[in-house]
């Protein structure tokens, strides 16, 4: 035990002697949670649109006014001809063009029918869908207003109720996601590098030659990073609750314990990476280039996992952050208890055991 403490201390000295790294490790989650918590949103606002209106009349003016008044759209006035559209889309000047047919109002009055085309830049299909949906809704509203006395017969109304996140706050989904991703990547990178670095410098041999058991040795390397990660976790939670007003509807203690499990799993993953390579560069490439995009995309907070092709759904199961993301949402946002999350927690525990077992085996092979 005394040896263990000495080793932990030594590890801490290493960390504290390198303030640049320490600042980055601690500053990084804070910057990220702030930036992304506030800046990321799927909402579409202020999209630039063009209006092509060959015959300006009362109806079209009304519709255009309504479009202009909405916070979704900004009208780009310089485009007035269908021939300009392609160029305007290509230079990214506009997202959508609202094209009225000729003699819109007289058609509407006499033929009872008039056409509007919504031409969208579908190179971003999501935004295209959203802007055309918003515009459709606005135009429909305008139409109702134009015929105030006309009541539709046999009308089905739809009452929509939102559960768990009634204000549709983006942070509720992004905060748990970023928490999962940042904790996973930082913990993994820190441990894998710390160990591979010793291997590269040759001091690992020295340590392995000491009378300490490999398990104790590895634990002593991991403990300091566990403490740093817990500190990071605490910062993220405090910022999320105070600044982003993300609630902790469930038990804080439970959240803490599960986070501890997740951090240990991430550290174990780092350990595993360090056991399969001897070079810092390879360890870094695996833990940054290899893991950054997959954890971002496969943990489920950007893209729903059920949507993915089956093989990828299977692959997503080996991403630890996927499980943790689901747990954090359950506890923080939905306020659920242990009953809802024990399965996910068990998966994380299983992963941890697997990584540790494999790494220990690899280290032992090295010694003998």
């Amino acid at each position: 035990m005394k040896q263990f403490i000495i080793f932990v201390k030594k590890e801490f000295y290493h960390i504290l002697r390198d303030p640049k790294t320490l600042i980055i490790i601690i500053g990084l989650p804070i910057i990220q949670i702030l930036t992304f918590g506030f800046a990321l949103t799927n909402e579409v606002k202020n999209s630039k649109i063009a209006i092509l209106n060959p015959t300006i009349d009362e109806t079209t003016t009304k519709i255009v006014d309504r479009l202009e008044a909405s916070r979704f759209f900004e009208i780009e006035k310089s485009i007035n001809s269908p021939n300009d559209l392609d160029a305007a889309f290509k230079s990214g000047k506009i997202r959508m063009a609202v094209v009225f047919q000729n003699n819109f109002q007289s058609n509407l009055l006499h033929n009872k029918k008039a056409d509007i085309q919504l031409i969208t830049d579908a190179s971003d299909p999501n935004i295209a869908t959203m802007v055309s949906n918003y515009a459709t809704a606005i135009i429909n509203d305008a139409q109702t207003e134009l015929n105030p006395n006309y009541q539709m017969p046999y009308q089905i109304n739809i009452a929509t109720r939102l559960f768990y996140n009634p204000q549709q706050i983006g942070a509720y989904s992004f905060v748990p996601g970023i928490m999962a991703m940042v904790l996973l990547l930082i913990s993994t990178m820190m441990t894998s590098l710390a160990i591979v670095r010793e291997k590269e410098l040759g001091s690992m041999e020295l340590l392995l030659a000491s009378p300490m058991k490999p398990l104790v040795l590895i634990l002593s390397k991991v403990v300091p990073y566990l403490i740093i990660s817990l500190f990071n976790w605490l910062m993220i939670v405090i910022l999320s609750v105070w600044l982003m007003e993300v609630p902790i509807n469930g038990s804080f203690l439970l959240l803490f314990l599960v986070s501890l499990v997740f951090i240990v799993a991430s550290l174990a993953l780092g350990l595993f990476i360090s056991s399969i390579t001897d070079s810092q560069q390879v360890a870094m490439m695996i833990s940054l280039m290899g893991m950054l995009l997959p954890t971002l995309i496969l943990s489920g907070f950007m893209f729903p996992i059920e949507n993915m092709p089956l093989p990828l759904q299977v692959v997503s199961n080996i991403v630890p952050s996927k499980w943790y993301y689901s747990i954090v949402k359950d506890i923080m946002i939905k306020g659920l208890g242990i009953n809802a999350i024990w399965k996910e927690t068990l998966v994380l525990v299983g992963m941890t055991l697997f990584f540790i077992a494999v790494s220990l085996k690899k280290f032992k092979i090295r010694i003998s």
């Binding site: 290509k90 029918k113 085309q117 739809i158 390579t277 997959p294």
Partner: protein, 372 residues
């Protein structure tokens, strides 16, 4: 100039010698490019829907049938009351609950008015909202059909109707993959460019070989060029491979000029490589270089418009994106590949990226010290 040739020879010998790194440089981006766009898909299908039918009328059954028939929904559950349906919503097993009240049919026919209830699981923001929107669409169609059934009399005086048609350009199938592939490719090229080059120099620092270089009469800009060119070539090769892969797997053929795309990439890579060198000049260990690159990559990705539109960001975040080289390239590659934009369209981007390239490299040369 001759010196640079020797530097290049050495860098390439080192790169090709290290099989582990080489494999990672080429295989990792390709695998990710093949897999990730399949996962990064906002086209929402399989929205899980629970149904509570208090009415049990022909109409309610007809509505349920129509929801069932749609490709968007998967009916997961029939329940007697809302209490029974909530646990599934809680567990994310269902995304929306449709509740049909008692006397739905009767009210609709007698009172000409009825109300349906949709409960949305808003934690799964995108899915829940789209689900509610799709359900509303189905209900509207259903509503119109009912109306048709009852208003069989000839429409002597129909209400004026504005017909709205939505016409997507450039991506007629509205495929999200076509949108994501070029963006992901940019991120992968950026990682090869900035991240590898910064690690490389810091590695020489740690190994002590940089000191040996510093006592030679080699000129600063020669040394930096010797480091830039190999990774510049790697970046271009990864971009080329990526385009080939996206053609083979996703059938994406750039609409615009490949020459323009590669010209832009060439300048972009010079900029990101300069940034990588700049990082390496200030980092003492590979660990520092990596953590800093990690921070930068996160900013590049999340504030680069890869997933979420830049125009919806708050003003301060928009300002940051102006200083994010990746944001320019992500926009440009989508413009050229999907829309066929020309030089005139991307001129502002070209100018911005050119400035980055010049500034980063000047800073890199200036901050690289042969002497302490």
């Amino acid at each position: 100039m001759r010196t640079i040739l020797f530097l290049l020879e050495k860098e390439f010998a080192q790169i090709f010698r290290n099989k582990a790194i080489l494999r990672l440089i080429f295989i990792m981006p390709i695998v990710q490019l093949i897999m990730l766009p399949l996962a990064a898909d906002y086209e929402v299908k399989n929205i899980n829907c629970s149904i509570i039918d208090h009415d049990h009328s022909p109409y309610s059954r007809r509505l349920i049938g129509q929801i069932e028939a749609s490709t968007y929904f998967k009916l997961v559950d029939y329940q007697q009351n809302i209490e029974g349906a909530m646990p599934k919503l809680e567990k994310d097993k269902s995304d929306i609950i449709l509740e049909i009240p008692q006397n739905f049919e009767k009210d609709l026919i007698k009172e000409e008015k009825a109300t349906l209830l949709i409960a949305v699981n808003a934690v799964n923001g995108v899915k829940g909202n789209l689900g509610a929107a799709y359900a509303s669409g189905i209900i509207r169609t259903f509503n119109q059909n009912i109306r048709m059934d009852w208003m069989t009399f000839p429409k002597m005086n129909p209400i004026p109707e504005i017909r709205i048609s939505s016409i997507p350009w450039y991506n007629k199938m509205m495929s999200y993959k076509i949108f994501m592939v070029p963006g992901i490719l940019v991120i992968l090229v950026t990682m090869v460019g900035s991240f590898l080059s910064s690690l490389n120099i810091v590695h020489e620092k740690e190994a002590g070989t940089i000191e040996q270089i510093n006592v030679t009469p080699i000129r600063k800009h020669h040394f930096i060029l010797g480091k830039l060119i190999p990774f510049w070539i790697l970046g271009i090769v990864v971009l080329g491979l990526g385009l080939i892969v996206s053609y083979i797997i996703y059938g994406i053929v750039p609409v615009g000029s490949l020459f323009l795309l590669f010209s832009f990439a060439a300048v972009y890579l010079i900029g990101t490589l300069g940034l990588g060198l700049l990082i390496s000049n200030y980092a003492d260990t590979q660990q520092q270089a990596m953590f800093f690159s990690f921070l930068l990559m996160m900013v590049f990705i999340l504030l680069g418009g890869l997933y979420t539109p830049i125009e919806s960001m708050p003003e301060w975040a928009k300002v940051i994106t102006k200083f994010n080289p990746a944001a320019y390239f992500i926009e440009v590659i989508r413009m050229i590949v999907l829309k066929g934009s020309g030089l005139k369209d991307i001129l502002p981007h070209f100018f911005a990226i050119g400035c980055f390239a010049v500034v980063f490299n000047l800073l890199a040369i200036w901050s690289y010290r042969k002497q302490i």
